[in-house]
Every structure is written in structure tokens, then in C-alpha cells.
Symmetry: C2
Subunit: 434 residues, 2 copies
């Protein structure tokens, strides 16, 4: 199926103007939920949905959905839905989110242009507050759409200044009614930038051999996600004793930072062990570490750390978490520190729908675009949606794996290739293919 | 020689009122150089100097000196000087500094009361900005008194708000003229709280045996410092690559925090090795560590650390610094990080005067107070003065080694015992003993 690469690009570039920031390199934007930039991005999106003849709804938490109900479709049939999000992290890139939203809209326009007759309605969706930069830890709109969080709970969430989500949505005119219900969809597709280099590396290898064979322009492959990684966050505190760095002999110290350093290396080693032994997708990161009192001439008294553990295998995640706890127990005995451990955030690995993955690979063949199975190491709204209906996640390549940064980039030809795979997948799932 | 313990206590308690803070435990004060609390503390000090018949001078950087010129003394003879400082760290204790200042004054009053006839004048000194909390890294007044820093350089130093030392001293009426010159002294004594537990531990052992022999009250011993530790501060930066904690495989990371953790443990091990092999007074501390971007879900990109290395042996300090540099070189090769190393602060170990140490031990015998040789792991103004004239540093015990804290405490009986040793030492050095 033909997608209009220029029309897709024009939408993504128009959207990039909302919240655009000045930057030396690349192209950045800051679009936080419920801000003026968010209002402008949503208004443009609604306008484009209406231009394509879609009927638009906005739910109580600001999720926007535009539905194409062609004459061929049974209005009571569960629709096929696709989309992503339009908010960004502060000083984020222009593809993370918008590519999936506008490629979904382009898929509908392509189906219309091709004169397809889908059996099911097709919905194009923008979820609220995916990045979680203002009101939540992320994936807010999809959490409500699958019933994991109630509308009321979501609307009461406040930003750091005490402004609640309902007031922020009122302010920009995007507090609608009701609740977008993902359980009512027959299938869900999200196209997103990969934020990693695996597709780029596969593409480079294939591109090199293709370049030998022909001089035609080659595009990178599209990723078809097998499983979205599980994520656990652990909070760890190590308490030693703050003391004068000069007047406290080495054998009379309880140095919280020295103990924490052993912990950091133990967590790294545990992940490496799991990668070597059983699950090469496992990762563990001590991403944050804060020392108190943090003065050169004071033996550190307290260290707080944030640990991120992810894998497609829940079992290997547990292995790493257990190793982390064992490390703390050893440090209590060996170094006399006190430790605290909590696990405030825990998401199981989420396998994608086999049916939709087959459809996506088939769409790749139809579009002449290579497709590659891979896992997602990052969380996406699709993680929630998969709990309510069949869900699939497609990846377009990210240059150098850079994301959440104005240097985030996906070549326009790669955007178009990925959109062709998405359009083919949606058409197939909606029963529009011959 | 009899010192008046109550008069000494009354002065220290009166001084404790200036800058006093509310605290749940202990007794605290905040007296930063050039503040109103500092003005009140200095005015009271000057008043007490004059009450004792001393002639007061204030130099251009606010060093205060009161000199007793008895009829017995040659007015041209180099005086014996003693003192310490009256400023504090924020929320510091009431003994750190004031004990040495008022014990020096009490030593003069005790000599007067005893009708002693010293050959030399005796000066009681308060140095400016010892703690370095507002205008400098510390030891400001003594650095000028030994010519290591000019008056002009000192007066231009600014606090974080851009207020220069000269303006701050003008504000409180303590910018005098000229320069207090430590090279003009025949000898210098400073009594200070130990800020460590060594005297307390010795006292506990002796007290236990003494208690068996008699029921008299026992006092803790007084420390006679052999050497003030050398101090080096190193600043270290480890640069890896910040990356998505989920989307970056373990084998594709350059984690600055994991590398820094190896460094922290290498520094600790290097100090322990030196302690075991050659110099048990050696200490090394990674006291500060800052991670960027410091988010749980981001692989750390940069880590900055502050390292403090101290010993009475310059050679063992170099051994530890070399081990730290070797660790960084290994991390560059092994982990692919980039590192930076600088050494912005470097003070050689400072041996105390043998002559004055002998005088101090003799004064202990005369006063019936045990004296113990030990080193100082902390920096003191005496470190500077020792570059200009014979200098000695005495320690009174600190309960639990706590200092720079309202819980800092030295029993009044221990203050008096230490003041007796100081008074005897000053009288001896000034040629007042029979």
C-alpha cells in the first residue's frame, strides 16, 4: 500500500513546531501535558483527524481518538486502533511519540486513498502524559484506558506546583468526557522509534551487501517487538557514620560510600552473570546515587541509590534483585552499615500478540521492508494496552540510538518505510486486504 | 600553677551565647567571619583582654592580639603567643576554637594571679576565619600572619554573595591596621579539642586502673601533637556515556558510576595497604561523589569525586595518590571511560617543635595531668605558624570524637586540666618558672 511520505513528514514537522526549543544540534521540543505547547499540538492533531473524515472524541483524562467508520465496516465491530503520544520529555526529540501518532493517521489516509474497504472501524489514538514528566511516572493515559487507574485518581494527580491534572486539562480545553476503553479494540498497533541501535546495526550489515548488489537506496529494517521488558525499580539506602576525614582512622570508619560502591559493582556483576548464563536481554543499572553530607573532607554517612532492573524474563529479573539484596546483607555483616531496600515500581514483562506480530511481518513482506524480531527495553503505552487486547509494537530505527534529546533522528525514508509496514498491518487486521 | 576553672568556663559559656542556635541535643553556635555574631564574640574577647590589662591590637584582616607586658619582661624580647579562633562552622560546637582562645587568656591571668615574672611578653591571639566557611578554604588569619597570603589578597576574598572580606570586617568594626606577624614570636601554643577519640580511649584505660587504686576524680590525659597531618585534595572526573537504562545492553555501556565505584574501593584499599605496611596514621576518603544525570532509569554519564588524603608521612600520601592515579589509568583501559585528575590543594605534614613538646610534657607533670603523644589528623592554624616559629599543639579530649556539631563536648574538668598544661607551658616558655 502506498503511504504519502511527504504528507507524513509535513505532519511530523508541523507538530515539531509546538514547544520547539532552540538547540545547537538537531531539533528539539518540550511538550509537557496540559501546557500551551500541548494544547497547540492537540488542536493541530484534531484538525488533521477531521480533515481525514474521522470522528473525534476526547476522554476525561485527555486521551484523543479519531475513528474512521467506512461504509464497508460494521459499526458495531471492535475497531482496530493505532497511535502513540504527542507529549515529550523536556528538550526531547521530534519523533518519540509523534511518529506513531501521525503514521497511524497516515495509515488511515493511505487506506482511504487506496480505496480499501475495511470490515472494522479504525481508530487513531493519542494517549495523554506518556512521558510522565508532569503528573505521573508515565503511561498515564493508557493506564486509564485499560482501567488500571480510575479517571478520578488520574484527575487528582498534581504537578510539583500543586496544579491537578483536571485543572491543567481544563486550561487547555482538553478535558473531555467518559473513558477511552482499550478493551473495546480488536487490536492495537503502536509504531515508535527504537531508542537503541539494533535496527541500525542490522541495517548497516544488510545495506553493505545490498550496496554491492545494486545502487538503489536501501532502507533500514523495521522492528517487530516480541516482548516489552519488565521493569523493577529498587530504592536502596546505605547508612554508615559521617566522620572527620582526617581524624577518623581507616579501621574506625563505617564509610557508606565504600559500601555503596561494592553494591554498585555487585549489581553490575549480577546482570552480567545473568546475561552470560541465561538471558542476554537482562540489564541492571544503578542510575542514581546521592551521598550525604557529600563533602570532600567528611567520611560519607549515608548513600541513597536508585536501581533499575529489566528483562523480558521475570525469572532473570528476580535473580538480579535477589543478588542485590544478598549484596546488602553481606555489606551489613562485613562493613557494619545499615541498609534499607524497597521496590516501589514493578512491571512484569509483556509479550506482544503472536497474531499481530505475524500480521506485521507479513505487512513488511508486502511493503518490501525487512522486519526483525527484537525486544523493547523501554516502557510504552502498548505495555498497558496488551493487558486489555491484542497488541503489537513496531520500531523504526533511531540514529545512534539517541532519544530524549534534540539529536534524536530517524531518516524520513525510514519513517515512510515503517509507516508502510504499519499501514499494511492495520489494513490486514481490519480485514481490508483482499 | 592554679588556673581558675570557673573563670575559664564562664568565658567559654559567655562566648557560646554569640550565634547560639536552638538544638535538641548539646549546645551549638554559628559564628561566621564578619557576621554580627562574630562582632559580638570579638567585642567580648577584647573586653576580657583589657580587663586582664592586656594591650589589644587588631590587624588588617581582623586577627586580634592582646599582649601582657609585665615589668619583669624585656619589651623588645620576642613574645610567647598562644590562642586559637572564635569563628565556627554552621551549627558547630562551643569548644572548637574558643577553648584555645580563652585557655590562653586564663593562662595569662593565672600567671598574674601567681605573681609570676616572665622574661618575655605573652600574647593571646584570635585568628580570623579559621573554619573557612565564608571567605576562604580555612586558616585565613594565620595564612596572613605567616606571609603565605598578603593582606591585600585576603581582603579581596569574597563570599558567595560577592561581599569582600574588607567590607565584612568594616561592617563589624574589626578591620584594623598592619599585619600580625607570627615570625616575631619566640614560641606559639594552641590548645584545641581533639575531634577524635584517642584521648578518651587512653583516659578510659587509665581511669579504670586509677579507680582501683584510689577514689579520687580522674581527668583525661592531654594530647601533645607530634605532627600535623599533611592534606591533599584531589578532584576526579569519570566520563562514560549516559544512556537509556532499558535500551542499552550490558555489553554496550560505558557506565561512569560503575567505574567510579571501582575507584572508590581502590582508594580505600590503597589507604588500608599503607596503614598495614608502613604508616598507621594514613587515611584516604572519597568524601563527595556526584552523578550526572542521576536518574534511576539512565546509565550514569559522568561522575565527579572529591578525594581527601592525609598522613604524617608525605611519602605514604604520595603512595596513595599514585595508587589513585593508577586506578584511573586502569579504568580508562578496562572500561573505556575518560578520566580527569587534579590536585588543587596540597599541604605537607608539619612536625611540631621538639623544644615546645618537651615543655608541654614537663608542664603536664607539673600540673599532675597525663600527657600523650599523638598526631593531628585535622588542619589547624598552628600548621601555618609552625612555618614561621616554634609551634606546639595541645589537645583536650572530645566526647565520642564528635565535633562540628552541637553534640561536641569536653568536660569542664578536662578543659581546666588542659588549661593547666597550657598555662604551665606558656609560663615555662616565657621564662617565668623558677
Amino acid at each position: 500500500m502506498h503511504v504519502d511520505a511527504d504528507r507524513l513528514r509535513a505532519d511530523i514537522e508541523a507538530n515539531a513546531a509546538f514547544g520547539a526549543i532552540e538547540t545547537d544540534e538537531g531539533r528539539g521540543r518540550t511538550v509537557l501535558a496540559g501546557t500551551d505547547a500541548s494544547r497547540r499540538a492537540r488542536e493541530y492533531f484534531v484538525e488533521r483527524l477531521r480533515d481525514a473524515g474521522l470522528s473525534v472524541t476526547v476522554d476525561a483524562v485527555g486521551n484523543v481518538s479519531g475513528t474512521w467508520l467506512p461504509e464497508s465496516a460494521d459499526p458495531d465491530a471492535a475497531p482496530v486502533a493505532a497511535g502513540s503520544h504527542l507529549d515529550s520529555v523536556p528538550e526531547g526529540g521530534i519523533f518519540d511519540g509523534p511518529l506513531g501518532v501521525y503514521a497511524a493517521l497516515e495509515s488511515v489516509r493511505a487506506a482511504q486513498d487506496a480505496g480499501l474497504d475495511p470490515d472494522r472501524p479504525i481508530s487513531v489514538v493519542c494517549f495523554s502524559e506518556e512521558e510522565g514528566q508532569r503528573f505521573s511516572n508515565g503511561l498515564l493515559g493508557s493506564s486509564v484506558a485499560v482501567g488500571e487507574r480510575t479517571v478520578e485518581e488520574a484527575l487528582e494527580l498534581e504537578d510539583d506546583a500543586g496544579v491537578a491534572l483536571d485543572a491543567a486539562l481544563d486550561e487547555i480545553g482538553f478535558r473531555g468526557e467518559g473513558r477511552l476503553d482499550a478493551a473495546g479494540w480488536d487490536a492495537w498497533f503502536e509504531l515508535h522509534v527504537e531508542q537503541d541501535t539494533r535496527l541500525e546495526r542490522v541495517g548497516a550489515t544488510e545495506g553493505a551487501s545490498a550496496a554491492e548488489a545494486s545502487s538503489d537506496e536501501t532502507t533500514s529494517p523495521v522492528g517487530v517487538v516480541t516482548t516489552i521488558t519488565g521493569i523493577t525499580h529498587c530504592e536502596v539506602t546505605v547508612r554508615g557514620e559521617a566522620n572527620h576525614a582526617g581524624a577518623t582512622p581507616m579501621d574506625d570508619r563505617t564509610d557508606a560510600l565504600a559500601a555503596a560502591s561494592e553494591f554498585v559493582l555487585d549489581v553490575e556483576a549480577a546482570a552480567n552473570d545473568v546475561v552470560a548464563a541465561s538471558s542476554e536481554t537482562a540489564v541492571a543499572t544503578v542510575g542514581s546515587l546521592t551521598v550525604r553530607p557529600n563533602a570532600t573532607n567528611v567520611v560519607p554517612g549515608t548513600v541513597e541509590m536508585g536501581v533499575d532492573v529489566r528483562d523480558v524474563s521475570a525469572e532473570s529479573m528476580e535473580t538480579i534483585v535477589e543478588a542485590a539484596r544478598a549484596s546488602l546483607a553481606l555489606l551489613e555483616r562485613g562493613r557494619g552499615v545499615e541498609t534499607e531496600f524497597s521496590r516501589p515500581f514493578d512491571l512484569e514483562p509483556t509479550p506482544m500478540s503472536d497474531r499481530l506480530r505475524r500480521i506485521a511481518h507479513r505487512a513488511g513482506e508486502g511493503a518490501g521492508v525487512d522486519t526483525v524480531d527484537l525486544h523493547s527495553g523501554a516502557a510504552h503505552d502498548t505495555m498497558h494496552v496488551a493487558g486489555a487486547t491484542d497488541a503489537a509494537l513496531l520500531f523504526a530505527p533511531s540514529r545512534d540510538g539517541v532519544s530524549h534529546n534534540p539529536r534524536e533522528w530517524t531518516d524520513w525514508s525510514d519513517c515512510a518505510a515503517a509507516a508502510r509496514v504499519l499501514a499494511g498491518s492495520i489494513a490486514d487486521a481490519a480485514g481490508a486486504l483482499p
